[in-house]
Symmetry: C2
DNA sequence: CGGCACTTTGAATTGAATCAAAGTGAGTGG
DNA sequence: CCACTCACTTTGATTCAATTCAAAGTGCCG
């Protein structure tokens, strides 16, 4: 279902068959851990359904969410032998898991696939640079607006374009993604709702004033 | 000179010869622009000497430095058809430039090289995740200490291990990298020097208390 | 109905930003 | 060789955006 937008989009039939043979379909319940920062990297994952929270922890408990993986996204590309961040399920999640050995063999055998994965990695890097700009230089309101527009765009690319942005993650997750506290996120949501910039609905927000939001994000 | 630590380290002799044929050695004076965010991506660059500042700008002038490229580093990997950030020389810089056409052809012909570039990209992504943690969740003092240790480590990998960390960039560059103001960076340097954690020397700092610094960074 | 996890709101505090003013030092030209 | 400039850096005083501390409010689920 997510193949059209994922790595698989550009594969030949025989490559797809090979991939299918090596993929281990797995699923996780809400809150389950896919893998933990620092643990040995056994598998690479391709999310097929649901949303995954990716985060790093400091020894004193401070948390930075480095991303939210949506269907089609790859996890574990940036590993040496240990995962660089933790990943757990937000709601029910389905993935295709590939053992590291299978992944390595596949990549060596199919340069075509490697090229596609490399495109993925460089796209991720571009997003990471934008997130640095956001974390280092934007105000709380700008952070939240950029986040909402970013999520809207990502759902749209997955074939779910809507003025209502689904937000399956908690306020704390959003705060830890944007480098804010939960209170600041909550207050900023409330202020944007009072402005009539957004409307807060169960499980997400409805974009009411996209012009203003895009102007702020620009 | 930088080949041992760069992409070229794992190439065969004939691959190296091919690379050399396509590389256009270029050099830039202090402050020169290699390329600008949003402009058409003509070239990929491999830095051979000097330091390059990589940054993004917001329309109102706010700047985020997304990285400092040292000898051996690649620039322009994460491009679609326009550069995602600007790059300019800090001091004199030498690079090998590759036209986009040459780069694409090379990558298609040599999966071996692609694999190496992909490793580079995923390493960059890991660093970007660490920078997100730093920007989102660390204090000014922690940011500066992590930056100094990071630079020390990078110079060390290039074969210049030293307790004196060379800092060719300005305080403003450091501030824009760490998501701080120049005043906060200056004050924090002064405080660390008063602590005897570091000693400020022309063009850099000397690490005086690495134990404390590593403890803060952990 | 009560418990629990998450969210919102309010008041007080604070770390870093802003505003303002010297201080430093390399390069230039008289 | 010294005064002058210019860019960069440091230091001080004040302000403010976001955090922290504190307390309700909400709604889902057994």
């Amino acid at each position: 279902m997510v193949r059209l937008v994922s790595v698989c989009a550009s594969l030949t039939d025989d490559e797809l068959a090979l991939l299918e043979q090596l993929a281990m379909p797995t699923h996780f319940a809400s809150g389950d851990t896919l893998f933990t920062q620092g643990s040995e990297a056994h598998c690479v994952y391709n999310v097929t359904a649901g949303v995954v929270r990716l985060y790093k922890l400091l020894s004193d408990g401070r948390r930075q969410v480095v991303g939210f993986a949506l269907p089609g996204d790859f996890l574990g590309l940036a590993m040496r032998d240990a995962y660089g961040f933790s990943a757990d399920a937000i709601g029910d999640v389905a993935v295709c898991a590939f053992s590291r050995a299978a992944y390595t063999a596949l990549v060596d055998a199919k340069p075509h696939l490697l090229k596609r994965l490399h495109e993925f990695a460089t796209h991720e890097l571009t997003l990471a640079h934008e997130q640095m700009m956001l974390l280092g230089r934007r105000t709380a309101e700008e952070k939240l607006i950029c986040f909402l527009l970013g999520m809207q765009q990502r759902w749209a690319r997955l074939g779910k374009p809507s003025v209502t942005v689904q937000l399956p993650m908690t306020r704390q997750d959003i705060a830890d993604f944007l480098g804010l506290t939960i209170e600041t996120v909550s207050r900023t949501f409330t202020r944007l709702a009072k402005d009539k910039t957004i409307l807060i609905v169960p499980g997400g927000v409805r974009v009411m004033n996209p012009e203003r939001m895009h102007a702020v994000a620009a």
